[in-house]
Symmetry: C2
Subunit: 318 residues, 2 copies
């Protein structure tokens, strides 16, 4: 049986191999993804983002448990930061999620890619499609930090959870403003800690002052209690799933889902253009030795990077 068919029946080994090939930029992965594409688009995709240390992995883990109670099949994509030098993933498949490893309805993979030409977002889009083709009802994409690149990644999601935690310093508080607009649901982790109430108030007042958020959907704030108080924590996870369901219904009912799907497709086109246009040009410049010559000329100020790029564009673009 061919790979695509196997993946569509949920074959874990084939799906894992294809995701690894995407990560490693194996050319054959591309044609596989194209063949898978007609079988995608049926999953609900949830993004989870927040500062490092905010407890995103713990939350993802608890969310899986809660969704499994409702008989949902789940794919989890943990997006890792990659050193441009070593090229390796740092966190690997998150250890805390291993307890779901025995459950065939849960498929967890981490993803990291080399290169600065936006390859990570491209790979995320493709890996999501693999999980969609597997037939997973819900796909959770978890980023490691918060930044422009994480925002690009989170654009692949239909619904975005922003995880906050009290006591991360005022610079973090300021940064929150930047992610305010991408949040559909807030979770305040470690809500038993000092400062949690104040953080909740701050988020509320930010929501009140954001004009774009006053219409239709107001992002709810879920207070996630102490993980060791199992009962209270489970109750907050139940609340979170309820809020996600509400958001899903809102997206469907308001026509916003169609907008988000369009935005997702545009991101995928941009990523694919980068891979199909910019990367081959750079590769050719490197292989032909032209890049070395250009660097020499620019270094001695006989040229500059901007004129050089314009000249290349004139030569390469119709």
């Amino acid at each position: 049986m061919e790979t695509v068919k196997k993946i569509c029946t949920g074959d874990v080994r084939c799906a894992s191999r294809l995701i690894r090939d995407i990560e490693d930029k194996i050319p054959s992965a591309k044609s596989q993804i194209k063949k898978l594409y007609p079988h995608t688009g049926k999953s609900f995709i949830i993004g989870i983002t927040g500062s490092p240390g905010a407890g995103k992995s713990t939350l993802t883990d608890a969310l899986i448990t809660e969704l499994r109670k409702r008989n949902k099949t789940i794919g989890v994509l943990a997006v890792d930061p990659t050193s441009p030098f070593s090229g390796g993933a740092i966190l690997g498949d998150r250890i805390r999620m291993l307890r779901h490893a025995e459950d065939p309805a849960v498929f967890v993979r981490s993803l990291a890619t080399r290169g600065a030409l936006g390859g990570l977002s491209h790979a995320v889009g493709e890996a999501i499609h693999v999980m969609e083709a597997m037939g997973k009802n819900i796909i959770i994409v978890e980023t490691v930090g918060i930044g422009q690149q994480e925002i690009d990644i989170i654009n692949h999601a239909h619904s975005v959870i922003v995880v906050l935690v009290p006591g991360m310093g005022d610079e973090v508080q300021t940064m929150k403003a930047g992610i305010m607009e991408i949040a559909d649901v807030f979770v305040i982790n470690k809500a038993d800690r000092a400062g949690a109430k104040q953080l909740q108030t701050e988020v509320m007042s930010m929501l009140n002052s954001a004009p774009a958020l006053t219409d239709e959907w107001r992002p709810p704030i879920v207070m996630a209690g102490n993980v060791y108080d199992k009962k209270a924590f489970a109750a907050s996870m139940e609340e979170l799933v309820q809020k996600l369901e509400n958001h899903y219904l809102y997206l469907k009912g308001s026509g916003r889902m169609a907008e988000r799907i369009n935005r997702k497709i545009i991101v995928e086109i941009k990523d694919a253009l980068r891979a199909n246009i910019l990367e081959p040009i750079m590769h050719h410049l490197e292989e032909s030795g032209e890049l070395t010559n250009l660097v020499k000329k620019i270094k001695s100020r006989k040229s500059d990077p901007y004129s050089a790029a314009e000249e290349i564009a004139r030569r390469k673009v119709k």
Copy 2:
């Protein structure tokens, strides 16, 4: 007098306007930067990166004070996160640096740009050139967080300071591994806090186990004390400047400076190619309505983003 000449005499108003034009992607900025380019390449560029809340702005401020004692002229570029929705800078010109505003030898600007096509790194490279042309001896580039994009930005620097702080949780500790390789000098802020010694030991053991770092340059770790203990803090800033000087001398003496300059130029070429090739193609797709049609076809699964991008590449690239 034309803009370029004025900037080369250190004219703050002209330089500020050009940086604003770069940020706003005003087409005339491009030709100005090209004209400035022959006057660039003489400054030493220091990058400062670290997690949000690690105290980077305070450190930059103290570093300015210390460098001013040595009569250096300074440019500071604070790179802000931008919301892809509002398009606005969040932090603005860092408030804590305002006390240097009266000093004509210090030029502080913040920078943020819209768009996900790697525009920020491109703008950072150009803004650095403006400050170089102004004749600043030292240019400090400060990022807000740590991530792939920050690493792209930091590639514009000759020497990189990574700022750490005790007590940021274990996920942050793990992340450090990813930035280990870009650090030339470590600063542990709030070194009077519990856990600072342990953090120092951790960084040391990471340095010991990193094979690439055992040769030639071993990144020193500067323990920056309590900012309110002015004498102790000033002493640690003196030490930091000494380490930066050592690194500069090492780069010059070992030939590594030439390597870094080459790397910097390659980053600039890549950024400029993106601006000259990918952005116009995307723009044309949007303007002509072709993008809307493509999205429709992909949405109904009659096509996919990858085949669409390949087709565009065939049409647009020679």
